[in-house]
Each structure stands twice: as structure tokens, then as C-alpha cells.
């Protein structure tokens, strides 16, 4: 049977936290959705808040937590209001509070508004912020499942994952697995943005191809051809148009050299120069680096300066230095922001060497 990656990830995480002996335990719903191009969680929270609340309650019940926290991005006012209304409803219905539905299970869920930027979506930086410290990622291990909020076992999932749980429990695993297409299992919310006629959030059966999703979104805007796409948000590698036949699922996208990432398809039309786009993403990571570790604090700045100088003057990038910075970021950073910071640039150089002065002479990697 084809197991979905999401399914087994949920299973393993919940089982691990359930097995931990320390008390109290916590459930944290990571609603600090901040990856550029990613807005599916916002729509889920605004339109399906009951699924999020139910998912948290189920998670708390399974792992043995009595406290749930929804950590929400501060720009998400409407989503927060929807969740608040839903929490009130759940309290009135006896689904939250002490003695849920007459049982001996107690559960409180609170909403915590993120005080900071992108990096607080990193799970351990999020915990630091919840504990009133600088929002910087922790060295791992230990992982939050064992040593999380205030040193206690903490189950942390994102909005989409938690929202899927009630449906899977209600309709069964085989329903979930047959919801995908062509041997892929499950459904996936994707934020579609960039050069498409109807950007927005689309729920698709996994296995749907990128080309089909672009069609669903009204096709490439302005009747242009597709040039490139990033299948998983700002930190995923760009792929050229000929890969648009890739079925959307974790493994299939990885086989093509990118990743599902934050579930955000960014579409780029023919005629768009890619180096400024890559520069924009590297600059984003430079701006959002927390500054805790040397490779990322300095490496993202140096790379940004080098790319900006090339764009301004047309002078070649010193590709051996870019490669060195990429190696340091990937091998020595504390968290994922540092690991991926130069990925988009490297992928542009790999697929469109002619657009990156300095890299065309030699293979980029």
C-alpha cells in the first residue's frame, strides 16, 4: 500500500511525543506561515478553522497534553478572528475546558501572536519566542518532541497537517490514500502565485502535475509561455518549464531536484530575467537571518553584496566564492534558513547558466 509521507510523518511524531514521560506536554500549531509565496494556511484558518481546532484537540488527546497553543503570524488578523470565534464555539459546546465532553480529559487552547519575523516559524525559534527570549533557533538535537516548550515534550505541527487529521480519522486511511491520483496518496493545498491568471489556494489530489495546476489557475498570465517554476516556495530550487510534467508529491518533486517545501507554486513566465529574482530571494534570507550563527549571519550578507554588484555592473560573479559560501551555509548553519539560503541562486545558475555572469564558464556544482 502506498503510504503518504504526510501520514507517516504525523504518525511518527505523535507516537514519539505520546511515549515521552515528562509532564506537562504541549501541542503547538505552527501558524507562523511566512515563506514568500505561501498563504494556504491563512486560507485554511479563515475558512476551515474548526478543522484546525479539532486537529489540535485530537493531537492533545493522543499525546496526553492539556494545553494547546496556536502560534500565529501577526499579520494574520482575519485568521486569528476566525480561530477565536471557533475556540469560543468549542468552549460553549464543552469541547474545550475541564472535563471535555464529560470525560476526565482537560484541554485549553490559546492563541499567541508572533512578535517577530520569518525566522520565528522555525520550530525552535518559535519556542524561544514563546519563552520570551530572542527568536533564535536552538541547536538540535534535542528536538521539540522530547525537549520543547519550557523543556517539556511538545508536539508541533503546521496548520494544514492538523487540519487534515479529523478528515482522515473520520473517513479512514484508505479514503485518504485513494484521494490521490496515479498511485499518489492524499490531497494537498497549494498556494499558486506569480505569473498565472488566477493566483490563489488550490486543493488538489497529489499526483496532479504542475502543468495541470497552472491550467487550473488560468494558465500563465498574458498568454506567455512558461519559463520556470519553484514548486515549494522561496527556498525550493527553480525548475525549467520542461519539468512541468512532474506529478506533485514529495518524492516526485525531489527526483527532479527541488522540493515540496511550503506547498507554494511560484510561476515564472518567459521573458523574466532570473538573476534579479534569485537575488531578491537571497536578499530576503539575508534580511530574515536571525544572526545567531556565523555562516548565515555573514554568508547571506556577502552573497547578497556579490550578486547585487554583478547585477549593477554586469561584472562576473566570483563563482568559486559563491560555492564556498553555499558550502558553509549548507554544512555549518544551525537551521534551515541558512541551509537553503543560496539554493535558488544555485538552481538558476545550473539551469540557466547564461543568465548568471561568471558561472557559465564552469559547471556550477
Amino acid at each position: 500500500m502506498v503510504r503518504s509521507r504526510v501520514g507517516s510523518a504525523i504518525h511518527m511524531k505523535w507516537k514519539l511525543v505520546r511515549g515521552e514521560e515528562a509532564r506537562p506536554k504541549y501541542v503547538v500549531c505552527n501558524a507562523d506561515e511566512s515563506e514568500p509565496g505561501t498563504f494556504k494556511d491563512r486560507v485554511i484558518m479563515e475558512e476551515l478553522p474548526h478543522l484546525v481546532v479539532e486537529g489540535i484537540a485530537l493531537g492533545a488527546f493522543v499525546v496526553g497534553a492539556e494545553k494547546g497553543i496556536i502560534y500565529i503570524r501577526h499579520e494574520y488578523g482575519r485568521a486569528k478572528a476566525a480561530l477565536e470565534a471557533e475556540l469560543d464555539r468549542a468552549r460553549l459546546a464543552g469541547l474545550l475546558g475541564s472535563g471535555v465532553l464529560g470525560s476526565d480529559f482537560n484541554l485549553e487552547i490559546e492563541i499567541f501572536v508572533s512578535p517577530g519575523g520569518y525566522i520565528l516559524g522555525e520550530e525552535t525559534a518559535l519556542l524561544e519566542a514563546l519563552e520570551d527570549r530572542r527568536g533564535e533557533p536552538r541547536n538540535k538535537p534535542p528536538f521539540p518532541g522530547q525537549v520543547g516548550l519550557r523543556g517539556r515534550p511538545t508536539l508541533m505541527n503546521n496548520v494544514e497537517t492538523l487540519a487534515l487529521v479529523p478528515g482522515i480519522l473520520r473517513h479512514g486511511v484508505s479514503w485518504w490514500e485513494s484521494a490521490g491520483r496515479d498511485g499518489h496518496s492524499g490531497l494537498k493545498f497549494i498556494s499558486v502565485s506569480g505569473h498565472v491568471e488566477r493566483p490563489g489556494v488550490y486543493e488538489i489530489p497529489t499526483g496532479t502535475t504542475v502543468a495541470e495546476l497552472i491550467e487550473l489557475a488560468g494558465g500563465v498570465s498574458g498568454d506567455r509561455a512558461l519559463k520556470a517554476f519553484a514548486p515549494g516556495g522561496a527556498s525550493s530550487n527553480f525548475l525549467p518549464a520542461e519539468h512541468a510534467d512532474v506529478p506533485i508529491d514529495f518524492a516526485t518533486i525531489e527526483e527532479r531536484g527541488s522540493m515540496m517545501g511550503s506547498g507554494a507554486l511560484v510561476v515564472v513566465a518567459e521573458g523574466t530575467p532570473l538573476l534579479p529574482l534569485a537575488a531578491n530571494i537571497v536578499r530576503f534570507f539575508r534580511n530574515e537571518s536571525c544572526g545567531k550563527c556565523v555562516p548565515c549571519r555573514l554568508g547571506t550578507q556577502k552573497a547578497t553584496e556579490m550578486i547585487e554588484a554583478t547585477i549593477e555592473s554586469g561584472a562576473p560573479l566570483d563563482w568559486s566564492v559563491i560555492r564556498k559560501l553555499n558550502l558553509l551555509l549548507g554544512e555549518t548553519s544551525i537551521c534551515g534558513l541558512g541551509y537553503v539560503a543560496l539554493n535558488p541562486l544555485i538552481s538558476v545558475a545550473e539551469h540557466w547558466p547564461g543568465e548568471v555572469p561568471g558561472c557559465s564558464a564552469e559547471a556550477p556544482e
Binding site: 537571518s289 536571525c290 544572526g291 556577502k302 554544512e331
Partner: protein
Amino acid sequence: MARQGRDEQMIGLTIDGRPVRVLPGATIWEAARTLGIDLPVLCHDPRLEPVGVCRLCLVEVGEPKLTAACVRGAEEGMEVRTSSERLEVCRRGLVELLLSDYPVDVSRLPKTGSDALVELAGELGADWPARRRSGETGEAPGSRTEPAGGIPAGDGRALDHTSKVIFVDHQACILCDRCIRGCDDLQVNEVIGRTGKGYRTRIAFDLDVPMGESTCVSCGECEKVCPTGALSLRGWETLPEDAAAPGVEGWEVL
């Protein structure tokens, strides 16, 4: 009996193929020390809780990513490698990154004879043109750094002359967090912290005032733990004639 109970709790691992047993809670760095293996460190000091931010002490433990030995706990059966081509390249690269923002006019060296970053640069063969002149007043911010290993130079951070005891050169600060832990945790004066984010992060005194105006009691702990020229004792020869005059240079560029 008690002795045996303790032995049973000990964690066994190998470092560079050599077996070693340590008490639970020991880090890889501590385990390596018991074997006489000295891993390079910048942010770590055995008197302080480790923070693992400089990444110099990286080792291989058979996981996809390298791990910082100063914070990573030793685990039963772990096979640690402390030297390899990959580690060498990463350590040299990290030092070059730091040096590309480091004043070539090294202020700590002439006074104490030690500057951990410059020493590491020598050991690891980093490509950087150190100019070992003395003097902390040197050149104005803006022309104090050189590229290192092809990495473009950065500069423009402030010099803080306001304390009568300690000279602060923000350009030489590598944000290793040692002064902060020394001030807050060892001396419990709680004067130093960090402010700003990313590349603009820097140490700050109290709510970000010049050091001489802060609640600093001039105990000297931060200067003692600082591995670089960022905090150095002001020599009598460099005490400004009018102590109030020099103030903070380049504060606005921060």
C-alpha cells in the same frame, strides 16, 4: 559499589577511533578534551554554558549534517571524527568569513599577545592580510577591513571610547556571546545583551547606550572572556586626554 554504579552510567563513544567513557551530560568537546584532542573554539569557554554559534568546533558524527561539539551531548556508541578534508574546508571558510569583517589593524594583539581569531587564521591557513600594527584609534571606520579568501570585506561599525576601562571595537566583534554570558552569568551584572538582527546584530550595553553611560561596573570580565579585539583594556597610553571627548565614533552607521 558506588563506584561501579557510576561506571555503569558512563557513556561510551569513540573519537577518531579512540574509545572514551564520559559522565552523562558531557559534551563531545569535553569528551575530546579527556583524550587530549583540542578542537578549535571561538564561542566556547569551559566556564560558560555553551551556545554553539561560531560553528568552529564542528565534528562529524555520521549524520548528514556536521554538529557543534561544544553543545552536542555525547551519546552511547557515537563515532566522532574530528578531522577530515570537509571539516578543514568548513573551518577555514568560517574563519575567512569572520576575517572579511575583522579590522586588519588588530588592537588586542599588542596588548595581551593573544587574539583567538587571528591565531586560528594562522593555524588554518586562512587567506587574509593581517597588519599587526598597534593602536586602537587607528583609522576611521570605513577602511579597516580587507577581503579574506575572496570574500568581500565589510566595515562601518562603531568604536566606543566612552568607558574609561574598556575599549569597544564593534567591528572586531564576532558575536560569540562570551562577554554576554560572562557579564550576565558569571558576574551577574547583566549589562550586556544583543540587539538588532541578522548582519546588523551587535552587542549592546543596557538598553543600547554607550558603554561609559551604562551600568557597567568595570569588573573586566567581558574583556577577559572576549576572544577578539572587540573588547580590550584601555592602556594608560591611550586614555583620552579629555576623557569625555572622543565619545562614540560612527554610532549612526549602525
